[in-house]
Symmetry: D3
Subunit: 292 residues, 6 copies
């Protein structure tokens, strides 16, 4: 239904036309927030200064924070800081994606009280930024290093994203613990993914074997999507669903195994972009006949 | 059915009438256990002395242990130790809840061999005690600090409890990895929650949007409860269930989407308190007709 | 069907007859890989030397790596290194199982690019090796130490395997985050277990209350198997399934609650060993009638 | 010459009558300085907040700073923080001496730009405060702990003061590296001691065998004073001197072996208090006849 | 004697005309040495890779090494690494001085087996490089940061050089423990200073009060030079001397108090440059008459 | 005077004939002391267990303690522990020398209250044991590793002993800060050396250029001995002396420059062994004529 697709606005771009996402603006806002919090909470001031307020730019703050979060006794913080800083500085798309992710968390998660809250505390946000660096390394054929970083992200955040996976921008990994995303997975822009979500493989050898997630998709907590299936733009996957089939754009799949709400032939279609509206439960009424 | 509710004993109080839960008694028992283990296992003695035996009280031992578990290179152990000690010391209800949780783990989990085993090793127990401190800070409007603590708990234990969530006492988070509890969730007393359980939101903005869990509820592994639904006192939620509706007291909900065992009209009701009996599988027979 | 069982080859042994699994050979291969990676990626060379190339044997490398991964401010790396090295050296079966696990990851996981990749980065592999040491300690009645190790594994890797659980060799814990395996669980050889899998108890006191997993079983992501049920040799459990009943050999159980594909009376049987083929999704067609 | 001794003012008291040494005043000044420095130097702000600005009192700041400076992998910062805080809080004389030492550094050392400079950076100051705590522990017969602390001070600051040594207040250990002070040494008030100074024993067994240093003494760099000798009030010991004999009040001893300037019979006497004036070199003219 | 001064070659320049001191050449040599050592000693390879071989330039290697040596729990390695790297990169004179110091150690100290030996292990070399950074910060009026760095250098290396002190290039601090250099001291080029040497003040307030050391001077172990005295070019100060007077060029001062060898009127003069020849003991014969 | 030399007993051997120095006996005594201290001081128990009581032998305890003391972020404790343990275990003479040093400290230093006090806290003792390991590595041509260890010892303990220096047994380095011992120095048995002592070179290239110290020598604090001079058996060097000449057996040298007490022609000779009697000040009377 091409008309539908035309009507479907790329959410980030639309907001972008209103207020251009400006890294400087977000960074200035983060510093203002951190300064306010440092003043009201002396016990946290040292942390806020070391992590945010002592840095001249968002990329340095992020590189410092990730370096300290992901370091270990055998992968030193200085090495990781250098690696993050050099990689982020080398490709402006990385920081643009970071800013889009910050805006996504702020806009979609009612529990996200500020940009600095997300930057400091959201393991999904941090894992995603670290993944972008490991993905860049992977694309530069620095695979052992990309995989070492992958391993640290999985240890520290319990978020396991293969370095080869392609992830768009404006992404919200909410709560994030237990997310697993396989090697050939692709995720579009403005997607929201809850914790314990798996974009897994079929177990067959090295070909393209993981899901492709369209723009604006919302995937509920604990959903498992397996195989090289296509989740269409603006689709919604219910919490706990096990999805083994393609899901058309702007439809909802629920259950184990997942079925399309409204039926395979004429599935119900929604107009809003669930990846942004974050409406996890609108399909409850659709399920009412299963509640015996 | 109010009569039922009257008949429903508060499990902790009932046991309390037999042997009053006494912090001193539990602390003395913990020290005895630790001393015995230090003698039998010299390799562990240093750990037992630093964590338990060198401390004059349970709150100091707990503050030390949490401070060392949750510290990072930018949030130092001394700062966290101070924060935990001062907060726990400032409100006797916190330590009382700690003791009730220790008794809950000991009574309900057959794998829990001693109080000290729980104090030292149970990430669910430790995450819950740290949450109580972050919740206290939240209620004192020290929100940036509460959220920083929240983030550390989620990183270190993979247990993600929003600081605003209200949690009763006598709680067992068994295994605990992957538990996610949202901002407006409320959990009663004597509840047992297995790992990978989500008490999630509906994604709609800031109002009351998370589950309310009554006293004595048991929630099985991987269950996902979404929205401002009410899980009645003594109810049981089967493992892997996706619950989007209210569950009446002392009934059992299972499946994805969850249905009441026995049917919506006349659900089967149980007398025992599943939050304490921890009977996860009594509904197997109820499911037998689904097993084709 | 005993004939079937006779025909069912022990996968490791069969491959063993072709190329004998030799610890020396694997260790030599690991050093070759690490040397190659150190040369191509100087940023990683320090890590590769400290973790692999400076060690004279696989057990020392593994003991060093686990000691550094699992240490904390109160359980020092030197203590853990000593403990791992002494325990692994004391029982040659431990290292043989390590090598079988390395071969399993390499053979079954298309994302596993080398033995050293697995040794360094696979939290499932590392958690399993550390579990084997804690299990050995448990069997020597050094239970407080076994439980302290158990706790560190659960904190660091988000993999929670009770020290008493018995685990065979040639095991692949893929992704591994969120795996929970209870005290009386038993896992055979050549089993593959995805992340978020629970082998849980029934909550009833101390008797034998956890699943028994046969050789060659494949358990999909997020599957929950509860109680003292028997998953027969070569069976396959679909992702997200909740299994409360025995599953016969070489059959497939899917869904919540899980049903046998093909029906309880005459379930479909497969010839291949899913624990090795890792075919997670062959049952999609079997489910097609559930997709409305 | 008792008249001389009467005329000799206790320097601290005299200044005290002008501006009473007030811990609150010094602490307020320290916070003002740290706040100013944090504003002008963001790279240092985290350090200043963690060490000074996040603390409600000087004793907590000092306990935190010493705990972090002196901790090791086997003597944790939390343990030392607790020990320092409890000991300093238990005896108000300790903090009073700290404040007198801060004032001494500020008054006597032209390189000391602020109280916070001394509190943060002067190893002699920090070693002296830590010694006071180890001395308190020694006097409480907690000798193994006092000696462990002694060892950490010697390792970290290269300042070796036996826990039993008695030290007054208003002390300046300038530069401090290499200072060694033996078990039965006694140091009065308002003494200034440069680096590499030894107050050593005679090597004979356990009796009183170390120097006694009077009020207001100045001991130059590298001076070695051995045996139970008495260095009189207001005396001055030249740099590099080796002193094996009593030195009368307000005289100067120089050389190896040390001789009294002006001769043993009628040594030259000075009026000022060298421990406060810090005039190291006034005896140059006295030595002119040795310069060939 | 100006003719003498004309004849006195600047040692570094003279050698420079033969083989120009080239940072690239020295860095290439360091990497060759480190690669050779990493191959012959696997236990050290990780250290050599992290500290030298993983870095693209000498300044990065040095910044990394100093950052890790001087960091503490409150001054993180990432912060110091950044500070060292940015400062060294901002002024090419700093790295040129580093290279001159490396050449000095290699040329003058028979125990210095390679450039990498000095870079990795010489506390005098490392303290001097860190001092140059703190001096640069001081000259930029970043005094609190300069003093914090000063304090770390004094704690870690037991080398106490005030950030304001001016130090030339081609400097060898041999052994270095206990060196103290005051605020207004100035040290020329090609100077060699042994351990325990003090360039101290007179204790009088803030004016110019510390020694001025000419080019090519050699100061023996434990020498104490006090006050704003001038040690002339190519002079030699005997071990253990206490110098309170000017020492003319190319003369030798020995003893406590120091006298000129040969007498004040016609002191013996030497032709060689003792700062480079490192002849500590040529004055033995001059002292023979003191040996009774 | 050869008769004198014949009469001069090797102090350790003589005591050895009375009570044979038994490693087991000393280790048993250390454990008894540590157990007593752990009981009386819970705050120290963790340290005592980790460092002493959890180890089955003195070499393991020592290797653990040195590994933790000398490790850094780039030289990990596990690597050093391994290195110390393997080296000490490979040559029984090393542990025998350790035990002789422990007995020496206990016998000669009145401030040494127990063997465990020395083992845990004496930086001179610890530096000496670590030196023995670095010397062993040096003698095995593992020079880069020996020098890295040398550097760590100098950083951590401010004791700088070149790995090539040969040191006997029954050595007491008292206080030890600032000791510097050059490459070709040789130290006999039963020597006592105070802090700030230098056994330095002449600065001339690589030949034999450092002092040779005979058995039973006592070297006072701050003494500087330079060049390939011979300090005869049982000689005593006064504190602060600068020695550039041979000192005959059982004589005393004092002063800067050092002279023999009693005169060069017929120096006073003592019968006792000053390295054991530790009589630092018996020469005071000899100096009385210098005290003007």
């Amino acid at each position: 239904m091409p008309a539908g697709e035309l009507r479907y606005p790329s959410p980030l771009n639309s907001s972008a036309t209103e207020t251009p996402p400006d890294e400087e603006e977000v960074w200035a806002q983060i510093k203002t927030e951190a300064r306010r919090d440092a003043e009201s909470e002396p016990a946290l001031a040292s942390y806020l200064y070391s992590t945010i307020l002592s840095h001249p730019s968002l990329e340095r703050s992020l590189a410092f924070h990730l370096g300290n979060k992901l370091c270990s006794s055998t992968l030193l913080s200085t090495l990781l800081y250098d690696l993050f800083l050099n990689t982020i500085s080398s490709d402006s798309a990385l920081l643009a994606a970071t800013v889009a992710d910050l805006r996504a968390a702020r806009a979609r998660d009612p529990a996200c009280v500020s940009f600095s809250h997300c930057l400091l505390n959201y393991k999904g946000f941090l894992a995603c930024q670290a993944h972008r660096v490991s993905h860049k390394l992977w694309s530069q054929s620095r695979r052992p290093l990309a995989l070492a970083l992958h391993s640290r992200i999985s240890d520290v955040f319990a978020v396991d994203i293969h370095p080869a996976a392609k992830i768009g921008k404006g992404i919200l990994f909410d709560h994030a613990t237990g997310v697993v995303i396989g090697e050939t997975a692709v995720i579009g822009n403005n997607v929201s993914i809850l914790h314990h979500v798996t974009l897994g493989g079929t177990g067959k050898a090295c070909e393209d074997r993981h899901p492709k997630i369209g723009d604006g998709v919302l995937i509920g907590a604990g959903a498992t999507i397996l195989g090289n299936v296509k989740i269409g733009e603006g689709a919604k996957i219910g919490a706990g669903s096990v999805v083994l089939i393609d899901v058309p754009p702007r439809t909802t799949a629920v259950g184990n195994p997942a079925r399309l709400v409204g039926g395979k032939e004429k599935p119900a279609r929604h107009e809003e972009c669930p990846g942004e509206s974050m409406d996890h439960t609108s399909f409850i009424s659709d399920w009412s006949d299963y509640i015996i």
